[in-house]
């Protein structure tokens, strides 16, 4: 207890130095917290773009469909699986996929046809709210379609324009029809942006002559806190004979980037804090060396080396604590602000993606306990490492020499 009060007096004795050191630490911590929550925000948005806009948590396919996406490789009895999933507390929607050529005016582009069950899709994904222009599909308007934004650019089309689809139906006949573009999607990811063409399920079935079955069932946990692995197991058991994979298995690149985020953050924190360590080291060295005489007298009076070391550490602890409070408060406050008021990057980052998933044009922060904890914990660790040398110096002072020190 005494050590703490001596330490606090020492800290305030040279308040200017304390201020500069603490501010430097606090500022570094503040930036790191902000940076961490901005990174988290970016990654969360990517995960959301991948999961909530397209993949869902879990997908079920015919066992070799993903390898070789064939119109004929279907889930034969989607109704039964959908019902079972629903009873197990999942949201699920069936989807149909086909490929073909979309032409408008004098241009054409290969497209991926996506037949959507409107009544259930909105429980699974939020793609229906992710529109750049126009409106989402409607059951009453089977000729209305929604397309990806790069596809719209390639074809030079806008909402209200007509688009011709040409492809091959299941019976080998030519499938073609004229559709009207109802809406254009915001960026979701490379594949959907470039080739995605959404239409209502019935229009798809009629066009491709596919009365039954589904190519994919997308599943979403109704209870978000449920473990993804466990949920995948349950879903696997409900769809025997089919391939059931969660989004981490479907998009390993994104999953890997998300998993790596924390370790990348730790590396960045350590690098930045090394600069902090030098500031702390120098400041504490100064406080020790200008007090050699004083510390020598303390030692002569019977203060043990351990206590002196403890004293130096207590002084550091006080400064780091102040810095951490400063950093924690300002960092989380500003992060909270950016959680609600994203940074608009639309002029800067239009259409950018990584790992095939679009980057949101409005960059919002996401404050997680880790984004505060990692910078804070590492600030303590690094400051304490930096002070090791001055603390040992203080402990090893020889009283006789020190008292004569000038």
């Amino acid at each position: 207890m005494k050590i703490l009060s001596i330490a606090s007096r020492n800290v305030f004795r040279n308040w200017r130095r304390t201020l500069v050191t603490t501010l430097a630490m606090g500022f570094a911590g503040f930036i790191m917290i902000l940076f961490a929550s901005l990174m988290q925000g970016l990654l969360q948005a990517s995960e959301r773009n991948a999961v909530l806009m397209d993949l869902g948590d879990i997908q079920i396919h015919a066992s070799d469909y993903r390898e070789d996406p064939d119109l004929y490789k279907m889930i034969e009895n989607p109704g039964r699986i959908l019902l079972a999933l629903k009873q197990a507390g999942f949201h699920a929607a069936k989807r149909l996929y086909g490929f073909g050529l979309a032409a408008a005016g004098s241009t054409s582009s290969g497209v991926q046809l996506r037949g959507i069950d409107l009544s259930t899709e909105s429980d699974v994904t939020q793609i229906n709210q992710h529109l750049l222009k126009g409106s989402w599909l409607e059951e009453a308007d089977p000729k209305g379609i929604v397309i990806g934004r790069k596809l719209a650019k390639t074809l030079g089309v806008n909402t209200g324009d007509e688009l011709i689809f040409v492809g091959q139906a299941t019976d080998g006949s030519m499938a073609n029809d004229v559709f009207t573009i109802k809406g254009i999607l915001k960026s979701v990811g490379e594949e959907i942006d470039r080739t995605g063409l959404y239409m209502v399920e019935n229009a798809f079935r009629e066009l491709m002559i596919l009365p039954e079955g589904a190519h994919e069932i997308a599943v979403m946990r109704a209870d978000r806190s449920m473990d993804l692995e466990a949920a995948t197991k349950i879903a696997t058991n409900l769809a025997p004979g089919y391939e059931t994979l969660n989004w981490r298995e479907l998009k390993p690149v994104i999953a890997r980037i998300l998993d790596l985020a924390d370790s990348q953050m730790i590396i960045l924190v350590i690098i930045t804090y090394t600069a902090v360590a030098m500031v702390v080291l120098n400041a504490m060295l100064m406080t020790v060396f200008e007090r050699i005489r004083e510390l020598g007298i303390m030692k002569a009076l019977g203060v043990t080396p351990w206590q002196l070391m403890l004293l130096v550490y207590a002084e550091t602890f006080i400064q780091v604590s102040a810095a951490v409070i400063l950093a924690g408060l300002s960092g989380s406050l500003l992060s909270r602000y950016f959680e609600h008021n994203g940074i608009d990057l639309s002029s800067l980052a239009e259409g950018a993606s990584f790992g095939g998933v679009a980057i949101d044009p409005v960059w919002k922060a996401y404050l997680t306990p880790e984004s505060v904890a990692i910078p804070v914990v590492f600030l303590f660790i690094i400051a304490f490492l930096a002070v090791l040398y001055p603390a040992i110096k203080a402990a090893l002072i020889q009283p006789v020499k020190a008292i004569h020190h000038r």
Partner: protein
């Protein structure tokens, strides 16, 4: 007098050796960090830009007007061969390639997918200027410009169940907007590692595509220009533009034709800047602290100096020069510790493929997991200037304090 102040400042530095070493080392460490961050960025951006450039569009692209907005096949360049001749004579141009690029539906016996094609002249193309040719893992590029060959990506091959010698049908719209199809045989399979690219792009022989699209013998949709040094792309663009002087054509740089890549680089650059500014501020805080302390503990000394007739401004200068010495010393240490690190990172690099995998892409461009450092001259100059500016700036407050020492009172102190 000047000489003396400089010597005096230098000696003052060495009165507290340890402190000086730590401060100078922190500056040196800052230089190392800055070189690392900037160098990794300089190198990876260059790699990404160059990789993207050989994926079809080059650093600079000559296109028909409006093609960049809506790349439809009815827009075309005529006389592309003469254009190429002229471009190849320009200094700074590595290569100029005539290509037809467009969207197509790719189909095999009973399946079809959406894709894109790039029609090339095999005699013009080389592995160096064409990523897809470089990435061929099976078979080879078709020979002849009017053969029925095609080179497809691994994902396309898998999806359409193709292998060497198998048939592939591509369907697209011709110059009149008519839907046209043609059969090709797979001669090669490439793998770039980006599944979106491996599952969409195919290479076709250019003259065959010309006849399919009803193009003239020298028509093409674009001339893709590879510049020796990507940083000169903008300057070269102006030169090419003035040489061309044709309102029906557009000369665009990679930032315009590959805007997604440009945005990801801009984003990354911004993040990088923030970290560097932060590190700079931290180091400045360290210098400020050191100088401030050294001024404070010399209050009495400064008082005496003033009492014997030294002007306050001279004291101010003394401390500023001390901070300049710190800057020089720090840079020196920085250079000493950075050289081996730079050499290692420049020639050897660190392989992160175990961590991020070798299929990580940004805006459809593969990112090399082997991280290396390469520092452009401008970046090096920028780092040097900022280090100096920072040291001098952080010396101002302590120097001002030094110049303000009241002579009489300070002499009274112990």
């Amino acid at each position: 007098m000047d000489m003396k102040i400089r010597t005096m400042a230098w000696r003052n530095l060495w009165r507290r050796k340890r402190r000086t070493y730590i401060t100078a080392f922190s500056i040196g460490f800052g230089v190392l960090l800055s070189v690392t961050f900037t160098g990794v960025a300089d190198d990876s951006y260059t790699k990404m830009i160059n990789t993207s450039a050989v994926m079809g569009l080059g650093h600079v692209t000559i296109e028909p007007k409006g093609y960049n907005e809506t790349p439809s096949l009815d827009k075309r360049l005529t006389g592309a061969d003469r254009l190429r001749e002229k471009l190849l004579q320009m200094p700074g141009v590595q290569d100029a390639l005539i290509r037809i690029m467009g969207q197509a539906m790719l189909a095999s016996a009973n399946k079809s997918i959406g894709g894109a094609f790039m029609a090339v002249d095999p005699s013009m193309e080389s592995a160096g200027q064409n990523l897809f040719i470089r990435s061929i893992i099976e078979g080879q590029l078709f020979s002849g410009t009017d053969s029925a060959g095609a080179v497809v990506g691994t994902t396309t091959a898998k999806k359409l169940n193709l292998s060497i010698g198998k048939k592939l049908v591509y369907t697209t719209t011709d110059v009149n907007g008519e839907i046209v199809s043609e059969i090709a045989r797979v001669t090669g399979i490439f793998k770039t590692g980006v599944s979106e690219v491996d599952g969409a792009m195919i290479l076709l022989p250019i003259d065959r595509v010309r006849s399919v699209l009803s193009y003239g013998p020298y028509d093409a949709t674009l001339v893709s220009i590879v510049i020796k040094d990507q940083r000169r792309a903008l300057k070269m663009l102006d030169e090419i533009d003035s040489m061309l002087d044709d309102p029906s054509r557009e000369v665009l740089n990679w930032r315009e034709t590959q805007s997604e890549l440009a945005s990801i680089i801009t984003l990354d650059k911004a993040g990088n800047r923030i970290i560097q500014v932060l590190i700079g501020l931290l180091i400045a805080a360290g210098i400020l602290n050191t100088l401030l302390m050294s001024v404070m503990e010399r209050t009495r000394e400064f008082g005496i100096m003033m009492a014997v007739g030294m002007a306050p401004f001279t004291l101010f200068r003394l401390v500023i020069i001390e901070s300049v010495w710190f800057g020089i010393l720090g840079l020196l240490i920085g250079v000493i510790i950075t050289i081996p690190w730079y050499a290692f990172m420049h020639y050897h690099g660190i392989d992160f493929s175990g961590m991020i995998g070798s299929d990580y892409s940004a805006s459809g461009v593969l990112i090399d997991p082997l991280v290396k450092i390469r520092l452009f001259k401008e970046s090096a100059a920028w780092i040097l200037t900022s280090v100096f500016t920072l040291t001098i700036l952080s010396g101002i407050y302590p120097a001002w304090r030094a110049g303000r020492v009241p002579p009489v009172e300070s002499l009274k102190e112990l």
